[in-house]
Amino acid sequence: MDKLIKAMTQDDVWQNWVAANSAGAAAKDGCISAAPKTGCISAAPKAGCIS
């Protein structure tokens, strides 16, 4: 694991890793399990909601 972490934190690999986890590369908005998406728009018909 230690060797793998060292290999994956080399600049070229790291940049690819950040891109794989970043919005814009067909990737992520980014979330953790514990600030919000600052806005949502309705792009589809109502699904219907109840309380």
């Binding site: 992520k28 953790i32 514990a34 998406k37």
Partner: protein, 147 residues
């Protein structure tokens, strides 16, 4: 849930079913290993996050799942943050260790990652495609010994 996402994407039902399964596995791991995994950056793909968002909107079912069905018995909070911002706090090496931390825990609970799980876990896909690791190599990863 599968019908909802099948209707709204071009994905086949069996692919969506697997996305839902991997979302639930993600939540299970957070619940089961709260101290190790809570607060870490999302290790699965954005489409899985969308499933989590949809689940959160079903507030009653989400609370029941978290508090009564998952092993930790606590509500799993959700917060959005860009990876560029997230990784600045722990730093490069720790961020990478955190990303790899999921793998032994997943394999212990659910067995090795297979070809159908591969597309859904960002770290595993990266190790396989970018680092050239086989699924067997990935399954053999051991957790870092405590410092």
């Amino acid at each position: 849930m599968v019908a909802h996402f099948t209707d709204r994407t071009a994905a086949a039902p069996d692919f969506v079913e697997r996305q839902v399964t991997e979302c639930l596995r993600y939540l299970y791991l957070v619940s089961r290993h709260r101290e190790q995994l809570s607060g870490l950056f999302l290790p699965v793909e954005q489409d899985i996050d969308e499933i989590w968002h949809y689940l959160i909107l079903q507030t009653r079912e989400c609370r029941t799942l978290c508090e009564e069905r998952l092993p930790g018995g606590f509500f799993i909070e959700h917060r959005s943050i860009a990876y560029e911002s997230y990784q600045q706090a722990p730093g490069r090496e720790q961020a990478m260790e955190e990303a790899l931390r999921w793998i032994p825990l997943y394999c212990r609970e659910f067995g090795p990652f297979d070809e159908r799980a591969l597309p859904h876990w960002t770290t595993v896909r990266f190790l396989h495609q970018r680092m050239g690791m086989s699924l067997a190599d990935i399954a053999a990863l051991e957790p870092l010994a405590p410092a």
